[in-house]
């Protein structure tokens, strides 16, 4: 595009230059032509002047000849008559219209020694008469022609010379004089010819061919010889106070003055030609304008040409422009057509969009008049399109309080071209037809229309949304309330509560947590942070992997998980034990989004536990001595044997048995605590379960008279275990079997091997375990029959210890029980083949 403009401009410039050049050419041509015409005119005039001069001169050439001839012819003459005859003849041969007379004038005594003055003069007898007459009227001493200027001029000049014209009587004359030379070449006299000038003057006057020119001649002494305006000049001179007798009294200066005065505007072109012999100057003065009329014609004729040229060029230019414009127009038109089509198409599409839009769409021009109103707008505001198109938007849609702002906005837009409302979501309220106000949200966008900007507003009814927002606000407030309450509850808890989200960032920490853990919530970002900071470890000192923490397990899908940990509280004096319970927090779809852990300081409880166990240990230990003492004394006494009266014996035996029972109870208690603390120490050895069973069963058989113990063990079973403890396990089972089948009966003990395990079963036909207590049978201190009619005492620790022990040895313990009896079983892994030997 830019290049085209440049090209156009370039072309224009070129064209302009061309025209200018042409103009220049024309001007130059005209100028040159005019100049040459002028020059030619000038030259012509000059030529004419020259010709006039020459013609004049020629006329006087004759005179010149005559006077010369006269001078030459008369030079040798000494005879008066000769001279006279010469003069007569000569005069007669000359035209009488302009030769007036001629004379021969000898120097003093030059002609004859006796005559000083000899100057015969021949003239016409009368005007119009050709006959010459000789006169000696000037050969007088009074005249003294030798001292006349004309004589002197002739003598001096030698060659013919024409004297300055003079006016005599009523005519102008000039004389030609030439020196008469003797043989020696000395001037002895002067011949003269007098010429009448009127004719000449007339001739001169006749030369002036038009009013625009003046042909005149000035003499040697710049006197006017002849001038076409002679009479005016003379009149002027007289008015000037001069008294010219003839034109000859007027000089060139006077002429100039005359011209300056009378004809100031004259600007003549003057050509002069000198008549060398006469010393006259022929002048042709032509009005410049006239002389150069042709040139002027040409010069000015150039103007129309130029004008023509320019107009031609201009019209060409214009027409070319026009042509171009036409082309452009045509193109535009074409383009317009296309655009129109496109516009129509997009118009159609816009229509369709507007019709189908979910929002109310209102179009407005920059005057504020509604130009578009889609069906949704009709519905929203209650006006049909027909009713509102052409009306001012502010009147139709805006309530009073918004109108002013709207109008101001429009003005602002016109002024600055900007509107802050554009392309932003605006909440406002609009007016329905019935006058009710409607909360709306709108976006206004500006598009460029054909004649100015158009504005389209996309309006949505937000009354529903507002209502919802309000409600939500209320709900949020309620939630906030509840949240505050919950927070208060949390903060009043003695247990610490900690929650984190799926990215392990801490989302909640109650006061107790802050206190217990000794850290500021702001200081921690994530759960791993806490674990790190507090040096969390298991009770055995091992540092847990993050995934082993209950919170992590809850987060990754576990249900309620718990754990016991030891932590170092920053700023605290010592480590504390915490027991934590963690649970996942699920969203409405059941996905785990967070987890919460509740923990409390169980240090005290742990310590208490320890103390208790310590106490148990110490007590059990301490009791051993008094038990020993009792037993020893009793047994010592019993050693007296038969000498003992039976009651005494019974007493002593009772004391012994009592002491044993104390011992057993203490051992059990101790075991329980040790087992509970995981501190049961086992002496592992390879042993044969069958053999152990046999031994233990027989032992029992001795004590339990009412019961029959039947052992069924097909083959040996080598296991790795603590003999003493395993014995106790078997004894416990047997003891229970006996205890809980008070009627007596068979107790079946069996040993089988399968799947790398040895399985021992002890079955009784007793009262069994009530269903309700079965799940707790292995709990320590739990006695299923406690408080019932079948309460046969006991600590309730036997099964707990037995199971723990068996588990510690790598086996399992389980049971089946119903009202008709119980069957308790445990398994132990068989010792490896290669261990058998050790």
């Amino acid at each position: 595009m830019i290049r085209r403009i440049e090209k156009t401009q370039l072309l224009f410039v070129l064209w302009l230059l061309g025209v200018l050049a042409l103009t220049g050419l024309v001007v130059a041509f005209c100028s040159i032509t005019a100049s040459s015409l002028e020059r030619e005119a000038l030259t012509q005039q000059q030529a004419r002047t020259n010709k006039i001069a020459t013609r004049l001169e020629e006329k006087f050439l004759v005179i010149n000849q005559i006077v010369r001839t006269l001078a030459v012819l008369v030079a040798p003459m000494r005879d008066r008559e000769d001279v006279e005859r010469l003069l007569e003849r000569t005069l007669a041969s000359t035209p009488d219209d302009y030769v007036y007379g001629m004379g021969v004038w000898f120097g003093p005594h030059a002609f004859s020694p006796r005559e000083r003055y000899f100057g015969p003069y021949a003239r016409r007898a009368a005007a119009g008469c050709k006959k010459p007459v000789i006169t000696y009227e000037w050969t007088t001493p009074s005249y003294d022609f030798h001292h006349q200027h004309w004589y002197r001029a002739g003598i001096v000049a030698r060659d013919a010379v024409f004297l300055e014209p003079y006016f005599d009587t009523d005519q102008a004359y000039t004389s030609a004089v030439e020196a008469i030379l003797d043989d020696r070449g000395e001037a002895v006299g002067v011949a003269s010819v007098d010429v009448l000038l009127p004719q000449i003057q007339e001739q001169i006057r006749r030369e002036t061919s038009s009013a625009d020119e003046e042909v005149y001649v000035t003499t040697r002494r710049t006197a006017l010889l002849a001038h076409p305006a002679a009479s005016s000049i003379l009149e002027w001179a007289r008015s000037r106070g001069r008294a010219p007798s003839s034109l000859l009294d007027v000089r060139a200066d006077d002429l100039r003055a005359f011209e300056a005065e009378r004809r100031p505007r004259l600007d003549p072109i003057v050509t002069t030609a000198v008549l060398p012999k006469l010393g006259w100057t022929a002048v042709i003065a032509t009005d410049r304008r006239v002389l150069f009329a042709d040139a002027r014609c040409v010069r000015w004729g150039g103007a129309p040409v130029i004008a023509l040229l320019w107009s031609g060029a201009l019209s060409l230019h214009l027409s070319s422009r026009r042509a171009r414009r036409l082309k452009e127009l045509a193109r535009d038109l074409d383009h317009r057509e296309v655009v129109q089509t496109i516009l129509r198409e997009s118009e159609r599409r816009l229509r369709a969009v507007l019709e189908a839009a979910l929002h109310a769409v209102v179009g407005m021009d920059e005057r504020g008049v509604i130009i578009d109103w889609n069906p949704q707008a009709e519905e929203m505001f209650g006006w049909t399109a027909k009713e509102v198109l052409g009306r001012r938007l502010s009147e139709v849609m805006l309530s009073e309080r918004y109108r002013e702002a709207h109008e101001r906005g429009l003005l602002e837009l016109k002024k600055t071209g900007r509107a802050p409302i554009l392309n932003r979501r605006v909440e406002t309220s609009a007016l329905r037809r019935d006058g009710s106000e409607l909360p709306v949200e709108l976006i206004v966008t500006q598009i460029q229309g054909g004649d100015g900007a158009l504005f389209y507003a996309f309006i949505a009814d937000i009354s529903e949304r507002k209502r919802i927002e309000e409600e939500r606000g209320r709900l949020l407030e309620r939630i906030r309330q509840r949240s505050v309450e919950l927070q208060a509850v949390l903060d009043s808890m003695a247990d610490g509560v900690l929650a984190c989200d799926s990215s392990l960032s801490i989302t909640l920490m109650n006061h107790a947590a802050v206190r217990l853990l000794g850290i500021e919530p702001a200081a921690l970002r994530s759960f791993p942070d806490i674990v790190e900071r507090l040096h969390v470890r298991f009770t055995d000192g091992r540092r847990p992997a993050l995934a082993e923490m209950p919170l992590m397990q809850a987060l990754s899908g576990g249900e309620l998980t718990q754990g016991n940990f030891v932590i170092d509280v920053p700023g605290g004096p010592r480590e504390i034990h915490v027991h934590s319970n963690a649970a996942p927090i699920r969203d409405s779809e059941g996905r785990i989004v967070a987890a919460v852990v509740v923990f409390h300081d169980v240090t005290g409880a742990i310590e208490l536990d320890h103390l208790k166990d310590q106490f148990l240990k110490v007590t059990a230990h301490e009791l051993k001595t008094p038990v020993t003492i009792m037993k020893s004394y009793a047994q010592l006494a019993l050693r007296q044997g038969e000498t003992l009266p039976p009651p005494l014996r019974k007493t002593l035996e009772g004391i012994n048995r009592g002491a044993d029972r104390i011992d057993r109870i203490m051992r059990d208690l101790l075991d329980v605590s040790q087992v509970y603390l995981g501190r049961l120490q086992l002496q592992l050895a390879l042993l044969d379960l069958r053999e152990l069973l046999e031994q233990t069963a027989s032992q029992l058989g001795v004590n339990a008279a009412k019961h029959h113990v039947r052992l069924r063990a097909e083959r040996p079973a080598m296991v790795r275990g603590d003999r003493y403890r395993l014995e106790k396990v078997i004894l416990t089972l047997l003891d229970n079997a006996v205890r809980y089948s008070p009627e007596g009966g068979d107790i079946d003990v069996s040993l089988s091997v399968e799947g790398g395990e040895a399985i021992v079963a002890v079955e009784d036909r007793g009262i069994g375990i009530p269903a309700v207590g079965q799940s707790r049978i292995f709990e320590r201190f739990y006695r299923a029959h406690s408080g019932t009619d079948q309460d046969y005492g006991g600590l309730g620790v036997g099964l707990y210890i037995s199971r723990q022990l068996v588990q510690q040895l790598g086996g399992r313990m389980w049971f089946l029980s119903e009202a008709g009896g119980s069957r308790f079983m445990f398994s132990l892994p068989l010792a490896e083949e290669n261990e058998r030997g050790s």
Binding site: K624, T625, P626, S632, L636, D660
Partner: protein, 119 residues
Amino acid sequence: MTAWSVLVVDDDDDIRDVLEMALVEQGYLVSQAPNGRAALEVVAQGMPSLILLDMKMPVMNGWEFAAELGRTYPRRAPIVVISAAEDARRRAAEIGAQAWIGKPFELNELLALVKRTLA
């Protein structure tokens, strides 16, 4: 033949008394010591045939006694450790005792053990 002598070292009076009674009944000569130091004094009077040794005693405990005994006497009497502790066997092994018996014990078993050890 001279009668065997048994030194009973235990910090509990009653244990010492009842053991003395039982041993005397069996024909042993019995001496008592409430702690290791006292026991050493007795031994200084004359090495007994057997020492029944409790481990946990004040003033000087069983380990110290055994160590001192070993330092002082190249040949000493066999020691039977009487211990209420769980690891009585280990304790006995620690001091190089010949046997051990736990508390509470059966009197018969103790007497049998004494007899066996002396044999």
